[in-house]
């Protein structure tokens, strides 16, 4: 016989009370786990969707403006292509697809057209709208998962390798923006002469509504040769994880590339960050509600339990139980209820997420094992906090008042 067996016997004796106490914790934790399970999947889905918005970080030469980048000013400064390698070989987390570019205006017939040199696979990967035209690049899955097994399953054992662009556009092939194709009368399979070199139009890009419609894209190294710039580029577009950006990714990039200007494409980044913040806030609000409701419920349950057991606790005090034993008994009981309630809550919340997620939110929810640890911890803490006051009051019971109640 010890305190633990006394607690167990009491719990077992009042089964219906135990079940109602467990129910309060289980449902509270179940709600949190259900919401978090759905939120985890949603965050991933949102991250993938946000990736589809395209690059969100722009690396420009020092002294260049974003206008220079978009207008392809002939005198716009450049920087070495090696800078891509510097980023690739860095261990900075939160960086995905890198798209180096060399952009200049060239004269084709009577028109001034913007010629942009790209490394095709990375460019296509960062522009989902191009992919709808049948151009296939790396499937990025999600930018924020550095060790995403989905990416690894594509054969990239070291995920940083994924950032290396894969050349799949012929050295004398080009992609033509829809407006330029119309203006120059080009279609797929046409030939076009740029600065005395002949290019085959591999694809006419779909209309995007952005500057890409007025451009011709060719292989970066061909464009560099054509323009005589050597291994220089005008910009690197990067898809950065929005969380990493808010945690100082830009500063870290500036340390790697001190003589460049690094800027974010504000609207995209702010949308990404705001979306993530909203998800986190919703989870936090529910957590606070459950903490209050759960704490009050368990406190109420323990208070009722103490009141019902006044005589029994008085007997224990009468025969010499120290007040600390009464405290410990009630807190051990709260811990047991919290632990069991947390585990059951995790099971119920996960089950609800898995079953209801596809039906209500159209997403496939999978169990998140780490939530089991958090559920157990959270529910034990809630149960103990809610029981502190009842335990304190129980320890203050005067045994003689109970002994005189016949």
């Amino acid at each position: 016989m010890n305190i633990y067996s006394l607690v167990w016997q009491e719990l077992w004796h009042r089964k219906s009370q135990m079940i109602s106490g467990l129910l309060a914790i289980t449902l509270g934790i179940g709600v949190i786990v259900g919401i978090r399970s759905v939120a985890v999947v949603s965050e991933k889905a949102v991250a993938v969707n946000l990736d589809n918005l395209g690059a969100n970080i722009l690396v420009l030469p020092q002294g260049a403006s974003v206008d220079d980048y978009y207008t392809a000013d002939i005198d716009a400064p450049t920087f070495p292509e090696d800078y891509v390698e510097r980023i690739v070989t860095s261990t900075l987390p939160g960086l995905d697809n890198l798209s180096p570019k060399m952009t200049r205006r060239v004269k084709i017939g009577e028109y001034n057209i913007v010629l942009t040199g790209i490394l095709p696979a990375s460019e296509i990967a960062s522009k989902p709208i191009w992919q709808t035209a049948g151009l296939i690049g790396n499937d990025l899955q999600t930018t924020c998962a550095l060790t995403n097994p989905l990416n690894q399953s594509q054969g990239f054992e070291d995920e940083r390798l994924q950032r290396k662009s894969i050349d799949s556009l012929g050295l004398h092939d080009c992609l033509v923006g829809s407006a330029t194709a119309m203006r120059l009368g080009l279609s797929e399979g046409s030939k076009i002469k740029i600065k005395n070199s002949e290019f085959l139009v591999a694809k006419v890009l779909p209309e995007t509504g952005i500057v890409d419609d007025d451009r011709i894209f060719a292989h970066l190294h061909t464009v560099q040769n054509l323009l005589g710039t050597g291994h220089q580029i005008s910009a690197i577009e990067i898809m950065g994880c929005c969380n990493a950006i808010s945690e100082g990714l830009l500063g870290k990039l500036r340390n790697i590339l001190p003589d460049t200007r690094i800027t974010t494409i504000g609207q995209i980044v702010s949308t990404q960050i705001e979306t993530n913040r909203l998800m986190n806030k919703v989870s936090l609000i529910f957590l606070i509600i459950i903490l209050f409701v759960g704490g009050i419920s368990i406190g109420n349950f323990m208070w009722a339990n103490v009141n019902e057991r006044r005589k029994e606790l008085g007997i224990l005090l009468m025969i010499g139980a120290p007040k600390s034993s009464i405290y410990i008994m009630l807190l051990v009981k709260a811990t047991i209820l919290g632990l069991v309630g947390g585990i059951l809550g995790y099971a119920i919340g996960t089950l609800a997420g898995v079953i209801l997620g596809p039906q209500l939110a159209g997403i496939i929810v999978r169990p998140v094992p780490i939530l089991l640890v958090w559920s157990a911890l959270l529910s034990v803490v809630i149960a103990i906090l809610g029981s502190l006051l009842p335990a304190h009051l129980a320890a203050k019971i005067e045994p003689f008042t109970i002994m005189q109640e016949v």
Binding site: M1, S5, I315, L316, I319, G320, K323, S324, F400, M403
Partner: protein
Amino acid sequence: MLLRVENLSKQYPHADGPVDALKDITFNVKKGIFVTITGPSGAGKSTLLLTLGGLIYPSSGHIFFRDHALYSSSHNGLADFRRKHIGFVMQNFSLIPYLSALRNVMIPLSFQKMDKDTQRKRATDLLDSIGLKERMNHLPRELSAGQQQRVAIARAIANNPSLILADEPTGNLDPSLAQEILELLKTLNIEKGITVIVVTHSPEAADFGTVRVRLDEGRLVQ
């Protein structure tokens, strides 16, 4: 001297003014005697018993247990005193309803940090000695009133106390069972040398005392 009571008074607060439960009581209790305290309802019998047991702080006066001032101790000190030296037997048996007879007797032993096997053996022996070995796994509600009171007595003596304080131990029992319980207390008093103080209304029970005391309106009158 086991107990020395000096000028003991106890007042309970009340809206109409304090109520005197005990008034300036002085007496001594020698080791190994059987004391019965009688008196009308409201005479202060139970208050006296609970004060002697370290359960109610007196308003004034002193109680010395083996020359140690009882109420100079802290709450934990008083709990320690009850655990080591006092066995309580109450009218309503005061058993934990969801514990078997055996576990009820094991409780005070568990507060002494005794290991489980020793607790079990001691509790079994005690229940055997009062003829309840066959019923040791029964819950209190499965026992008769007399059996429940015997379990309570077994629990009271589990820690080898030097003093048993019994508040109307036969109040809920029919005369034959009452006689049985009083004889059991008498046996413990004689054979084990445990000092017994019994508060009772019953003249038959009072006759068991080697020392008989009468309280009236909070004063010792006999």
